[in-house]
């Protein structure tokens, strides 16, 4: 699978971006606000189309897929966890109406949502209010992640989807995710170094360009921007 995105000449959001993500790999994107991380991952489910260049999945240009089939392959978990009025079950089945109860429970388990769901009055049949407003931000985010897992996609895109989770839930979730879902490709956009430092490949973006690519250790050595971001989040001892 390989992606190419060079963009429109007048005001390019992303310029000459090329990278490959293999099945089973985790690729992470980091960079300052407005660097184009979100725009980049939004191109994959064709929320927008590239201006020039190509994005390929299994060697086929994504514009050649039926858009419905393409989106079925992708579990996109957006920044803002948007849930709907209805039961938790209905929300989890949002992208896969035929999912069995076992699948829902497994997804909730991976997303670290089982605990709080079982504490709710009616468990999985508990009603969510408009936009899920009767849940905390972290709970909404975990349900949104579980909803993505229920879809059983080939490619996962986490667009800053761990932001409302505390560090330990974030870690537990990612560990379970990688353990349970071995052969899917995962693309993670994040702000926290902790969330992505163990990714197979980290791509550092700045003003729409790739300025660094590699593992945490490699980037710490040879990417100034990455080092700066890490320095602002980690203490001195942890940097070494």
């Amino acid at each position: 699978m390989s992606f190419f995105y060079p963009t429109s000449p007048n005001d390019p959001v992303l310029k000459n971006i090329s990278f490959t993500a293999e099945p089973g790999q985790t690729v992470a994107f980091i960079g300052s606000t407005g660097c184009g991380k979100t725009s980049l991952v939004q191109l994959i489910p064709r929320m927008y189309d590239v201006s020039s260049g190509r994005i390929l999945i299994d060697g086929v240009d994504i514009r050649e897929y039926n858009i419905h089939d393409l989106r079925d392959k992708i579990g996109f978990i957006p920044q803002k966890a948007q849930l709907f009025t209805g039961t938790i079950t209905e929300n989890l089945r949002f992208g896969n109406p035929d999912a069995s109860m076992d699948e829902l429970m497994r997804a909730a388990d991976i997303a670290q949502a089982s605990d709080f769901i079982s504490k709710r009055e009616n468990g999985f049949n508990d009603m969510l209010a408009e936009g899920g407003s009767n849940l905390s931000g972290g709970q909404k985010q975990r349900l949104a992640i579980a909803r993505g897992i229920v879809k059983n996609p080939e490619i996962y895109v986490f667009d800053d989807s761990f932001s409302a989770l505390d560090y330990s839930t974030d870690l537990k979730l990612r560990t379970r995710l990688r353990k349970e879902i071995k052969d899917a490709t995962m693309l993670i956009v994040a702000q926290r170094i902790g969330t992505i430092r163990h990714a197979d490949k980290i791509i550092v973006l700045d003003e729409g360009r790739i300025v660094g690519q590699g593992t945490h250790e490699e980037l710490m050595k040879n990417c100034r921007i990455y080092y700066d971001i890490a320095a602002s989040q980690l203490s001195k001892e942890e940097l070494i």
Partner: protein, 598 residues
């Protein structure tokens, strides 16, 4: 039936609430309308005198009586009376509608402000329980439906009812037995229309409720548009929409169809009555028991019954839909408010304010079921920085909700400088706090006004000073229009981090005694993060501050860290103390550096 009375009681209550300041004007309008209707009904009877006279004259002429001629002067008097009555009647009804328009519009202006007041008095939990679309629909569609009904239907309805009653009175005056026959037939048509109306009323209510549901659904689905696309849920969304739309269609059709049945049914009855009455009165005139003019007046009255009855049934539709709306408005207005606290002391002695906040054995649950907080105690000393950390759902936000009295505790006490927060009026207690929330909230106005929201009487210089302290002055100056730049309605033309800086400036300007900060977890780049951090530190200087902390730097230099787990404080102390303990906090703190595969 019971339900109906209930609704009428509510509708009456609403009219009472909204109309009482305009009582006098309203009653004058009512009286004028009534007076106009009485005059209108007298017309056929007066014309009858002319007909009788003419009939007599014509018979006299035909019989060749000496001096027989049409009595023109008598007829001229009748015409003059009719002319004057018409002018007076028009004046009365015009004045009446002029007065009603005025007081209906004024009273609905008042009603809207009442609802808006109410919105501010309702506890936060109400909004957690109800769909936004439903509340919006109550504010807009329902108020509109009621004001239209009052404006366009109320006065004609009064006219029609008076007209109807007067018509019967006049029929009885002309002939008691015939009038009574008509009076017996009236309930007949009344029951038919009442039966149909009842049927359609249920459908009307259904239609209005479905409309509110549809609005809520549309709003939610548009907000979640991206997710629907990404999860291929378009079909489901459309199906569900069509299902609700279909229900609304059905209810609308039924209510429309049933209420359209009412007037033809009544028309049919009246026509039969008319034919029968012509036969009977014609016979009476021939046998000399009735004057010609009275017969003419009587049959005209039968026709005249038709109009007000028709009008009443037609006006019933908007009024029915209005009573359903009225019920919802009254229900909203009767929703429990945060309890009134007139009796409590309004003043806190701010000159001696120190800012010692104390939680003592606090117990709290959102619903009556499981306690969210079982037994919570801690003390924040004046000027300290308290960091609250814990896993998601551990109850961090709940502590803030309790401190701000958005929810009340079940047991225990919360004190500020030794005074229980429940001994002070809610508003005064809240005024002590400044808040910077994770979802930075800006409204549709200039940046300067958004900052000034913290303290409405602040000068431009103070606004700029606050912006400088919050590290946002430079950014604002680089925006088109600077401090006068409009924030758009969604607040999406500035970035999340910048929004947060603006809300920090707002809090700094407000200069609260106690500051509450809910740190944004991420979505902010490194440079902005440092700006926010230093702005927050400056904002917290010299006052007791509570921070729901996500950033390590905040946690590290806090005076007190509260580690929450399932609503209880499992550990408290400074960063170093807690690390030494090597307990929950140490685990939480270290987890971000831990190896993923361990």
């Amino acid at each position: 039936m019971n339900n109906n009375n209930h609704r009428l009681r509510k509708a009456g209550k609403l009219i009472e609430i909204s109309m009482s300041p305009y009582k006098n004007k309203f009653f004058i309008a009512l009286f004028l309308q009534f007076f106009g209707a009485v005059l209108g009904t007298l017309n056929p009877f007066i014309i009858g005198f002319a007909t009788t006279e003419l009939g007599k004259n014509v018979t006299d002429i035909a019989q060749g009586k000496p001096g027989a001629a049409v009595n023109l002067s008598y007829i001229a008097v009748i015409v003059a009376i009719l002319g004057v009555s018409a002018v007076v009647r028009q004046c009365a009804t015009y004045t009446a509608s002029f007065l009603t328009s005025g007081c209906v519009q004024d009273s609905f202006r008042d009603l809207r402000s009442k609802i808006s007041d109410k919105i501010n008095k309702i506890p936060v939990s109400y909004y957690d329980r109800n769909q936004l679309g439903f509340i919006l629909s109550c504010l807009t569609n329902d108020v509109d439906a009621v004001s239209n009904a009052m404006q366009q239907s109320l006065m004609p309805l009064i006219y029609a009812v008076t007209n109807l009653i007067m018509t019967f009175v006049m029929m009885l005056v002309i002939s008691v037995p015939l009038g009574l026959v008509c009076l017996i037939l009236l309930p007949c048509s009344f029951f038919i229309s009442r039966f149909l109306m009842k049927k359609s009323q249920g459908q009307f209510r259904k239609m209005q409720n479905t409309l509110a549901e549809l609005n809520g659904y549309i709003q939610e689905r548009y907000t979640g548009f991206t997710v629907i696309k990404l999860y291929n849920n378009e079909e489901d969304t459309i199906n569900k929409f069509e299902e609700i739309n279909g229900r609304m269609n059905k209810a609308g059709f039924k209510s429309g169809f049933i209420s359209s049945l009412i007037s033809p049914a009544i028309e049919f009855l009246i026509n039969i009555l008319y034919a029968v009455m012509i036969l009977i009165t014609g016979y009476s005139v021939l046998s000399g028991n009735m004057t010609l003019g009275n017969m003419q007046a009587f049959v005209t009255y039968i026709w005249l019954i038709f109009e007000p009855m028709n009008q009443i049934t037609q006006l019933a539709a908007p009024i029915q839909s209005a009573t359903a709306s009225m019920e919802r408005i009254v229900n909203f207005l009767e929703e429990d408010e945060e309890p009134d606290e007139e009796g409590k002391s309004s003043k806190l002695d701010l000159s001696k304010f120190e800012g010692n906040v104390n939680f003592r054995n606090v117990k709290f649950s959102y619903s009556d079921s499981e306690p969210v907080i079982a037994d919570l105690s801690f003390e924040a000393k004046s000027g300290q920085k308290i960091a609250i950390v814990g896993a998601t759902g551990a109850g961090k936000t709940t502590i803030i909700n309790l401190l701000m009295r958005f929810y009340d505790i079940d047991e225990g006490d919360i004190t500020i400088d030794g005074t229980s927060i429940y001994a002070i009026r809610r508003n005064n207690e809240r005024a002590l706090f400044g808040m910077v929330l994770q979802d930075a909230w800006l409204y549709h106005n200039t940046i300067a006004e958004n900052i000034r929201f913290g303290r409405l009487n602040a000068t431009d210089e103070e606004v700029i000073e606050a912006a400088k302290t919050a590290n946002v002055d430079h950014f604002i100056r680089t925006m088109p229009g600077g401090y006068d730049m409009m924030i758009n309605e969604e607040g999406s033309n500035v970035s999340l981090g910048q929004k947060q800086l603006i809300t920090i400036a707002r809090a700094i300007l407000a200069n609260p005694h106690i500051l509450i900060l809910d740190e944004a977890t991420s979505s902010v780049d490194t440079r902005l993060e440092m700006l926010i951090q230093s702005a927050m530190n400056r904002a917290m200087e010299g006052r007791t501050s509570f921070v729901i902390a996500h950033r390590l730097s905040t946690i590290r230099d806090a005076d007190l860290i509260l580690v929450l787990d399932s609503g209880d404080i499992v550990e408290q102390g400074t960063h170093n103390e807690l690390l030494e303990k090597n307990g929950v906090y140490a685990k939480l703190y270290n987890s971000q550096f831990a190896d993923q595969d361990e």
